[in-house]
Amino acid sequence: MNGVFDLAGTDGIGPVVVPEHEPVFRTEWEKAVFPMFAMCFRAGFFGVDQFRHGIELIDPAVYLKSPYYEHWVHTIEHFGEKLGKLDMAELDRRTAHYLANPEAPLPQHQDDPELLAFVEAVVPAGATAKRESGKAARFKVGDIVRVDRSAPKGHTRRARYIRGAVGEVVLAHGTFIYPDTAGNGLGEHPEHVYTVRFTNEELWGAEHAEPNGSVYFDVWDPYIELVAPSSAPTEGAVA
């Protein structure tokens, strides 16, 4: 979707402010929200692509002005409500309760050894999005390609600043979960992923581009079309 989260090239939103020191978590509530991603993922709230799309659906003014981990709260609520896992009226009622009584305790509960084991296992193992697929790659390193102009209204990783731009395939990574289906609840449908190199001049115009620079952006196979095949000799070609 053409949302405000798609920020590359946006001007006028101020300088990058880098504090001298910063804790990993700035508040107690950030510490509570961070683990919710992995634990709600385990509980079937969303996949990673859907999680991102839930954030993309946040009101743009809130998106730009709210602290980072509040974005995670919104996407957890979005899927919790959608899947019937969270009663929003009850959530509002409890919010009012804790706003009036910030020190009120959380519900009594038992430890869960399985949940702890999940944390210990998932942190070092992760959950790769790489998938085997029988699909042949349509492109190879060295091909000159153009990103299509398609502007889906659902989740996609087609950032606006690379749409229509021409670049060179520099890396081929194999097949991965396709965000344009997975992020919209339509299944994994793996596609080949490539890194494409775009010059600054191609993206921003010669007049406005910084000199001697380029951007490397990952695309899925359906995002691009061939402009010119690699000029490198292919295997088996006769010299």
């Binding site: 709210s66 790769t128 952006f217």
Partner: protein, 200 residues
């Protein structure tokens, strides 16, 4: 738009309310929360990436493996996991300087750098770094890349996680990996800063 920007107190209450419901459903426990927070506060951080960089600086065969397949090379050092399942290391040279960003959200190689600093996730860096990286580096990080050096910005739009292998500084001949690792900063592996200076 009827956007309401919440105060810290309002967010804290909302989170506690959500937490209470997820606890009752058995989705999370305070014990598991505390453990996950502890891991990313004390165990998984940029000291791990620094260890990898120091080894690459000291061992040409390891460096070749790292550049070929970063995930596999890091696994050999016991470094792997969430949000770094498929990593690519990009090497700085005399001619090329690399920088990473996620313009669409906040993707970052957690297993080697820990959780990203807030400026990396904030709109300002994500908006400007693909468009005027030299200016951002100079204005906000006090770091100048000569015009003769190509600046490559890696936008992490897929699940591939890029990170930067900085150049080994001069004056470190004969240093141990542990000594070298001390020089490697988080910012040097993002590409927005230098490795620590070596007194000459």
């Amino acid at each position: 738009m009827s956007a309401k920007i919440r105060t810290q107190e309002e967010i804290a209450a909302r989170v506690k309310a959500l937490e209470s419901m997820l606890i009752e459903q058995g989705v999370m426990t305070t014990q598991a929360i505390d453990r996950m927070v502890d891991i990313y506060e004390h165990e998984v951080g940029p000291q791990l990436g620094a260890k990898v960089v120091a080894k690459a600086w000291s061992d040409p065969e390891f460096k070749a493996r790292l550049v070929e397949d970063a995930s596999e090379a890091c696994k050999q050092l016991g470094i792997s996991g969430l949000q770094g399942e498929d990593m690519v290391v990009v090497e700085n040279t005399d001619d090329v300087h690399n920088i990473i960003v996620c313009t669409l959200c906040s993707c970052y190689p957690w297993p080697v750098l820990g959780l990203p600093p807030n400026w990396y996730k904030d709109p300002q860096y994500r908006a400007a770094i693909t468009r005027e990286p030299r200016k951002v580096l100079s204005d906000s990080f006090g770091f100048t890349v000569p015009e003769s050096v190509e600046v490559r910005v890696w936008d992490s739009s897929s699940e591939m996680r890029y990170w930067v292998l900085p150049q080994r500084p001069a004056g470190t001949d004969g240093w141990s990996e542990a000594q070298l690792a001390e020089l490697v900063t988080r910012d040097s592996m993002i590409g927005v800063g230098a490795v620590a200076q070596v007194a000459s």
